[in-house]
Symmetry: C2
Subunit: 436 residues, 2 copies
């Protein structure tokens, strides 16, 4: 068409996302060529098994099992195999050969991002990965480019659709944790081994990517404080609901200053209470959203599908067009930028608020005793509610909402409450985010 | 610092946005230089009156009244004067001289976008205007770049903060239209002449910009079907609420196919009912949000501040960094892309649903008569509700929700109902959007 030059695109992997990417490249060829100023030629699709069934009917001659050879002749390599190897070796090979790389491989980026960014930078190639966080939602490009003149202070995302589906069912339909997980599993929201999702590993990988882009700092996935949703009970969800909150699993990347004055970054994943009128509270089912706070821009939110073959393919195509345009117009590629090198601070240095539920002996002086424990740790109560006594007159249930304080002090307060006089048990501890 | 080259930035206008832009350039100089690879030098600020008070204290020697001269030596010109002239002449001068231009001037873009895009393209300069729609929210760049490999089918935005503030007060506090407008005015949400906001002119300007970016087609502002919020009553808001809806002023840009098979674009602004669980329903006060539907990506939403000096300045700075990086790395600039040249179709060709409220004589056969009128026009009812009779037994109030149909048929249905037997009056007609 119109004498456009050709750009050879090698696709590695042909699962639900890869098949859609191949379809879009083939079906929208003319339109993509008009937007790019060059024609994309799908030079091949590397797969493990030539005979596996595909979501989309694709020309058989495109398939190959020789990924290494396919990468050799490519201008742009799209890696959608997942996993660490051979994805890492193939991406490195591609970048070293000067090809641009588009990937959705969050695990690989979380583990080996810096070395891949460096490989890209050495040859001026581009490594882009919009689809690695929150699938279809354009979030990495806006963070990097649209907010390039602003100071991002906090990024707070619902970035795992499976756990959001479970928590949303518990909240909206009153499901038990087990029932919600079973439905999620039946609908394909959960993997056979759900640990990656429910223990927050997947969200932690995305937190490292968000933190590194927002703060230009390498954030190893091991440095992300991680708590999953397996401890969340129907009773907690119900109590949250009646108090005007909803529980969401949040991946948070934040600029913080430690108690001894060190400016740094916190990256963490945990289930937390969000006020029901917060924009993140309206994120239902398997949807994702990323809430961003910046010094000048204020509060922004990006919302959309967090999974799905076609949805994720949309983000891959956006990166592909960007890489292809770079081949046409020139200029160095964009990879990671880790120039700020801020220290990663432990979760104890974070400022947050706690909601603590506890059963106490219903005696005179119990509130004073508890207030004393809080005061000892420099924590003050924003609210104290006494709920109906459970199973007889001798016990009462208390719900304490604290003011914002240092996480370490809040955690120490809870430890002290567990052994405090007249306290029978601490029944729930949840952080409250997005309030201030 | 570090031998970076200098880029000369000329700022035209120093209102609430301009003052913040100047502050950010001056205060964040080192950081911007690190991100750009060049140092931004604010070469001057053109104002009408050197002695006007400013929101931010700025070096007096930067100010000048000679905008033309300031533009001459600039690498990048930031236009924040507003209005058509002299902004248009100065931007044209800047582009013709090869400077990149960043502007937030939606009125100018809506009126003269195509000629400015052409001026930019002729010299390979960049014209960017992220701040012109929904202030701080990164929406234009994601539409253009992140979704570059996808097909956008509909863009639906709350893009005017003033009218959203009014409608939100009416919805949440039960204010009358007059009371809500008075509060909005007192809080500075409304201009002295509120016509631009409440009659939907401002939203229409933004609709042309959104439509032209989403569909690569020139959409003159006169081609935008426009209805304001002045006809919206407290009774309508209340009725919407009790039926599970909220009324929002929407700017809609949509790919549609006319009844005779022509593929084209619809751009329109009107108040419409949105289901309360739609993400746009949670956009309160003066906030903005843009809901995007794309073939592969599905539903996306971008949410944030729709006004404010610092907030708007954040978007201007994002464009400034992008333009400055282009000076460093080379490559042609991005301006408008109107290559698709789709026809603009009249509002009658749009598919939507109506909610029609009417007072009727409470007699046998009245429902059959009304159903007959609908059927004649090929419109079918999704729901019919009879509310409590008002002021005596002879009258009843009906609320009819239609299925999706052609706007022209729906409008004709309403016209026919007005004169139909047993119908006393049509008391409210509102479109229902975002349902399907």
């Amino acid at each position: 068409m119109n004498g456009y030059r050709d750009l050879r695109v090698a696709l590695l992997g042909c699962g639900s996302v890869g098949a859609q990417v191949a379809r879009l490249i083939l079906e929208h060829g003319d339109e993509l060529a008009a937007r790019i100023g060059a024609r994309l030629t799908l030079s091949g699709i590397a797969v493990r098994n030539l005979d596996s069934p595909r979501d989309v009917e694709l020309p058989r001659e495109l398939f190959t099992t020789d990924a290494e050879r396919l990468v050799q002749g490519a201008d742009i390599v799209i890696e959608l195999m997942g996993g660490i190897e051979p994805a890492r070796a193939l991406i490195t090979q591609a970048l070293q050969g000067g090809a641009d790389v588009v990937t959705a491989n969050k695990a690989l980026l979380a583990e080996h991002g810096p070395e891949l960014f460096e490989a890209a930078e050495q040859v001026g190639a581009q490594l882009s990965y919009e689809a690695a966080v929150a699938a279809a939602i354009p979030i990495l490009r806006p963070l990097r480019e649209s907010l390039a003149g602003d100071h991002i202070t906090r990024v707070m995302g619902i970035v795992n659709g499976s756990t959001n589906y479970i928590l949303d069912r518990m909240d909206r339909f009153g499901d038990s944790a087990e029932d919600a997980a079973r439905v999620a599993s039946e609908l394909g929201f959960l993997e056979a081994d759900p640990t990656l999702d429910v223990e927050g590993y997947d969200a932690a990988q995305k937190a490292t990517i968000l933190a590194s882009i927002a703060f230009h700092t390498e954030v190893p996935v091991d440095a992300v404080h991680r708590e999953g949703i397996t401890g969340i009970t129907a009773a907690q969800v119900e109590a949250a609901k009646s108090a005007g909150y909803v529980i969401k699993l949040l991946a948070i990347a934040e600029r913080i200053t430690s108690s001894d004055g060190v400016d740094g970054v916190s990256a963490r994943v945990y289930p937390a209470l969000i006020r029901r009128d917060h924009p993140l509270a309206a994120v239902h089912e398997g949807k994702n959203a990323v809430f961003v706070e910046a010094e000048a821009a204020g509060e922004l939110m990006f919302y959309g599908a967090g999974a799905g073959g076609a949805e994720t393919a949309s983000a891959v195509l956006g990166d592909l067009v960007s890489a292809a345009r770079r081949h046409v117009v020139g200029g160095p590629g964009i990879a990671g930028s880790l120039h700020a090198e801020l220290p990663i601070l432990p979760v104890g240095e974070v400022n947050t608020a706690y909601q603590i539920m506890l059963d106490v002996r219903d005696e005179p002086g119990v509130l004073a005793a508890i207030a004393g424990v809080l005061a000892e740790h420099g924590v003050s109560a924003a609210s104290v509610e006494q709920s109906v006594a459970q199973g007889g007159g001798a016990r009462a249930s208390l719900v304490i909402g604290t003011h914002v304080a240092r996480e370490a002090d809040l955690a120490a307060t809870v430890d002290a409450l567990r052994t405090a006089d007249r306290v029978l048990s601490v029944t729930s501890v949840l952080r409250l985010e997005g309030a201030e």
